[in-house]
């Protein structure tokens, strides 16, 4: 990799978005207080945070809708607030709340938007890509919520963008519609589109993203791949099981007893930084005694827990 020189450079270091010290002030209120972000080309990037954390403000600055009050922003090599139509032809934007063009069909909406771009994708291919091929002649306002969202994505893809902004794409969806939306977003990788995803659902970020940035109160509080966010991979695992009938806590191996963190009747909860060192003796103990542990569970902290800890801070919950 170090030898990789010339025009192509290192494919692992090709930032499509670079933000340094971004600030945004509305009157006396500073919504964004010095954010740094780097989004690599080809990634699905998740931007997480509770409502009011500064997510939408940041995204609208990156999309070129708002003028920032401080910091440096480069998106596709240009400053969004001065970028022109040539730049806008290279991005796609799915807004958090936008209704379809009211009295046009799905195919007409896409043909209208295709005409805005210098080299658009094919309308039929794009409808097929988002799963709306059989809804082409349906008036957009008659689509279901999930279908409307897919039309939004299709409208954002019709210009064949390099970078797609998706602002809370599954808010208000039922679980099936969310799964379908996730499959579709996952499929965008195949097109080589970089995705900037805003969400407040942890499972969404975990399922889709290569890289996660969490903000709270206008600042970045954590970043990394979803698996290691907030030191999650190093945090203690939670092991829980019920004592089999006829056994007592005192009969457990010493290493297991030492890890007990909580008791709820017969149910014990253990905390272990390295789960194998506790699970091994526990299962050997059960096996030797001819017992089973039917409700044995091992969990690491969910991204949800990490996120709540990060975004609510040390204060009272």
């Amino acid at each position: 990799m170090a030898e990789a020189t010339g025009r192509q450079g290192n494919p692992a270091r090709d930032p499509i978005i670079e933000v340094r010290g971004l600030r945004m002030r509305y009157g006396d209120f500073e919504a964004v207080r010095g954010i740094d972000l780097t989004v690599e080309r080809g990634d699905v990037f998740a931007f997480l945070g509770p409502n009011g954390a500064g997510k939408t403000t940041t995204v609208e600055i990156l999309e070129g809708y708002r003028r920032r009050t401080g910091g440096e922003v480069r998106v596709l090599g240009a400053d969004p607030q001065n970028a022109g139509p040539q730049w806008r032809a290279r991005i796609g934007v799915v807004l958090q709340e936008s209704e379809p063009e009211r009295d046009l069909t799905v195919a007409e909406c896409l043909a209208l938007y295709a005409g805005y771009y210098p080299s658009p994708r094919d309308v039929d291919d794009t409808m097929a890509l988002v799963g709306l091929a059989d809804r082409a002649e349906v008036t957009a306002s008659r689509l279901s919520g999930g279908e409307r969202r897919r039309l939004d994505v299709a409208l954002a893809l019709i210009g064949d963008p390099e970078l797609l902004f998706l602002d809370e794409p599954t808010t208000g969806f039922d679980p099936n519609a969310r799964r379908a939306a996730w499959d579709m977003i996952g499929g965008l990788r195949a097109l080589g589109v970089t995705v900037f995803l805003t969400t407040h659902f942890m499972d969404e970020a975990e399922h889709l993203a290569d890289h996660v940035v969490v903000i709270a109160g206008g600042r970045v509080v954590a970043e990394g791949p979803p698996g290691t966010l907030g030191g999650r991979e190093k945090a203690a695992a939670r092991i829980s099981f019920s004592l089999p009938p006829g056994t007592t806590e005192a009969s457990l191996p010493e290493v297991v007893r030492g890890a007990v963190a909580e008791r709820d009747g017969d149910r014990l909860v253990l905390r272990a930084a390295s789960p194998v060192s506790v699970l091994g003796p526990l299962t050997r103990w059960a096996e030797e005694a001819g017992l089973d542990l039917p409700d044995l569970e091992v969990q690491r902290p969910s991204l949800e827990e990490v996120y709540l800890a990060l975004t609510t801070g040390p204060g009272p919950r």
Binding site: E63, G64, Y65, G84, P85, Q86, R88, A89, I91, G92, V93, L95, E97, S98, E99, P100, E101, R102, D103, L104, E108, A111, L112, Y113, G115, Y116, Y117, P118, S119, T139, D152, L155, G159
Partner: protein
């Protein structure tokens, strides 16, 4: 201009050519959406026809109305009156409602994220309003001519066309201005009705102004609806001398239109404002 890439150059240079091309791309979609909208079809296209038939049938034939220079048949009075209503409905009422709802629904915001020039979106929508207003004018003109024998003298025909065009463009500008100050999509319909209905009444659209007290005529004279109705009536009035260009009425309308344009340019928002 200094860039290579000829395919994108047309988009990049916001020249007149690109503007016209994008406007002509936008226009048929806006027109199609309007024609497909049941509410717009009724209020903008059907209602003026219904009004003309009703008023001309009820009051026409046996009655006359005092106008400048003499008396004319009541149906001859209602044709320019209802054309006024048709023009205001297409270029103002319908435009205010659709632009406000598109803005609040995020449609304008989404279009703004594309490379299309902002002016082309505005111009495409304005063109739809102008074409609709012209179409409804032609329909009312034809009904008046065919069903009620209300003719326009050839010497005032150019004046009629000028009044229609100046009125349509002025009300279009006023429509963008009003849309830019309405914050709430649900308020657009009642606000436009509250603005236009009283103006129709005091401007002589439904009742001849010759029956009004002078002060009411003076109040109506402040607003553009009265001047559109007066300019159209001047062209329709067989007692009119000369070419029938109502210079003062056209000027007042143009002044309102210019004022509307200034407000629209300052206040127009692409992002939803009601949330």
């Amino acid at each position: 201009m200094q860039r290579r890439g000829s395919a994108r150059q047309a988009v990049d240079s916001h020249g007149v050519g690109a503007l016209v091309r994008f406007t002509l791309h936008q226009f048929p979609y806006d027109l199609r959406a309007l024609l497909r909208n049941r509410q717009a079809r009724f209020f903008t296209l059907a209602l003026p026809v219904i009004f003309l038939v009703l008023f001309a049938s009820i009051f026409g034939g046996h009655h006359t109305v005092a106008v400048s220079g003499g008396r004319i048949d009541t149906s001859a009075y209602y044709v320019p009156g209802i054309i006024t209503l048709g023009i205001v409905g297409a270029s103002f009422v319908n435009l205010v409602i659709s632009v406000t709802s598109q803005r609040e629904a995020g449609v304008l915001k989404r279009r703004r994220a594309t490379p299309v020039p902002a002016a082309a979106i505005i111009a495409g929508r304005a063109l739809t309003a102008v074409v609709t207003a012209l179409a409804i004018t032609v329909v009312l003109f034809a009904i008046g001519w065919g069903a009620y024998h209300v003719h326009v003298p050839a010497r005032t025909a150019p004046a009629l066309l000028v009044a229609v065009v100046v009125g349509t463009i002025s009300f279009c500008c006023l429509g963008f201005a009003l849309a830019s100050v309405i914050r709430d999509e649900d308020a657009a319909q009642p606000i436009t009705q509250a603005v236009t209905l009283p103006l129709y009444f005091i401007s002589g659209v439904f009742v001849a102004t010759s029956l009004f007290p002078h002060w009411l005529v003076d109040v109506a004279g402040v607003f553009p609806v009265r001047h559109l109705a007066a300019a159209l009536l001047t062209a329709y009035n067989p007692h009119t001398q000369g070419a029938g260009f109502a210079g003062k009425d056209l000027l007042v309308m143009a002044a309102w239109g210019t004022g509307g344009l200034v407000v629209a340019l300052r206040r127009f928002s692409w992002l939803p404002v009601g949330r």
